[in-house]
Amino acid sequence: MTRLWYLFGEALTSFRRNVLVVSAAILAVFISLALAFSALVFNELVNLNTIRWQQGNHIIVWLQDDLGPIAHTDLLGQILAYDEVKSADYFNKAQAYQEFQEMFADNPAILDEVDPNVLPASIRIELTDVDLYESVQFRLVGEPVVRKIDVQVEAIERLLSVTRALSAIGIGLVVLLTTSAVVLIANTIRMAIYARREEVGIMKLVGAGNWFIRIPFILEGIIEGLIGGALAVGAVLFGHYILSGTSTDFFIRLQVSGDFLLRWSVAIFLFGGFAGFIGSSLGLRRFLKV
């Protein structure tokens, strides 16, 4: 027990000794992991928002309620006759509400606020070729039964290509920053060893075990990594909280599930500790030879 406290105490002491370098290392861990975590959340948001499109809903035609189901069915038949249309499905108001419930299953506040009746019926169109959306859109404009036409293709294609580019850049940055974070941690450990070289020399001389000498340094690296990870998790959760409050459109979700956040928060935090472990092991490698 006293040994354990000794080891922790040593790690903390050397912490205080190099506030500046240690802060730099923690900052690097923080930035790289915050970036990684935000990228994950962003990616999840894109997935959530494109899922309908991926299921083939290229165009959504929202319908007027007051013209009745017969007008709706007529329009469906008309649309199905278009050459460009591969398939089209009618979604009545009940189905619309059900879908809405599924989308916001984890957000009962919104569900409570929305009256099932305000959700309109719609026709979901899948095109033979997504590039043909304009001619379909053109023919549907002006139909009395059409309330609004949402073309998802263009926006989503652009979004997806941007996302792909961003992910590539993001992965590159995360790798680069994580590497530099590990190197910075290794550096703080080297400085800590240097600051305590006299003590380490005496410890070796009187026969302290190799791991007994190493553990405080390893702990120091792990603690730095965990602090950086915790800050990153905190920042991203806070950012997500702010962002999820700004959603103005029901159909663009800026909120991911709590489950997703929890799982990745834990993973990012632990990864911070792991990066610290790797960093301190690197920093120790050359020095503590017997």
Partner: protein
């Protein structure tokens, strides 16, 4: 206790600091290593601690062949060998008591046991009233006593000293030698490297003289320059 057989040490630069050294030091012996600067005294001590690896030969310390000792066992070797150096090697931020206790803490002795042992060894070296002082508040001789206390607190069977009186005036040196002699009388094997003629002459113990890495003299109960009437330590 310590046996060297054909020990040769060549440093990276090609300097041969030990050349085919044979030495047999029995339990309870007191041996001086003498010789001019650069003759290899410190090298032999470092080899016995495995601070350096030997190039050729075999070294036995406390019944173990340390030339083939795996790295992870080195701490155990060092727990059975106390060390004292010219520059004391005390931690300035720790008190006398803490410096001595440090040697026990880092090998995992329980606090209560450590406290008792520290108290005892400080009495042995005559510093029990100064346990709460810091090294800079002590004279050189007192600091060396602390370092001897730290080396001996764990009751190792062997004590290696590299010029322990090198920084001290003659009167203080005599005090340190009395202390080492007392420790030797408890059965501890002592090997000490020194330049100090007066001490070696006064003690009349076994003297091993080195020159450019070679043993050129090994005499029982000798002075620094050797006595005509003393015998060469052949079999012993």
């Amino acid at each position: 206790m310590i046996r060297l057989e054909g020990v040769t040490k060549v440093y990276d630069g090609g300097i041969v600091a030990a050349r085919d050294v044979d030495l047999d030091i029995r339990k309870g012996a007191f041996v001086f290593l003498v010789g001019p600067s650069g003759s290899g005294k410190s090298t032999l001590i470092r080899l016995c601690l495995r601070e350096e690896r030997l190039t050729k030969g075999v070294i036995w310390v406390a019944g173990k062949d340390i030339s083939t000792l795996p790295n992870w066992k080195i701490p155990y070797l060092r727990r059975s060998v106390g060390t004292v150096f010219q520059d004391f090697k005390l931690l300035p931020s720790k008190t006398v008591g803490e410096n001595v206790a440090f040697a026990l803490e880092v090998i995992g002795r329980p606090r209560a046991v450590a406290r008792r042992q520290v108290q005892q060894v400080l009495e042995l070296v005559g510093l029990s009233t100064k346990a709460d002082r810091y090294p800079h508040q002590l004279s050189g001789g007192e600091q060396q006593r602390v370092s001897i206390a730290r080396a001996f607190v764990n009751r190792p069977p062997i004590l290696l000293a590299d010029e322990p009186t090198g920084n001290l005036d003659p009167a203080t040196s005599v005090g340190i030698m009395r202390l080492l002699d007392r420790i030797n009388r408890t059965g501890t094997t002592v090997m000490m490297a020194t330049h100090d003629h007066a001490i070696v002459d006064a003690m009349q113990r076994r003297v091993v003289q080195l020159d450019r890495g070679r043993v050129v003299r090994d005499q029982r109960e000798s002075g620094y320059e050797g006595n005509l009437d003393s015998t060469i330590e052949g079999k012993a």
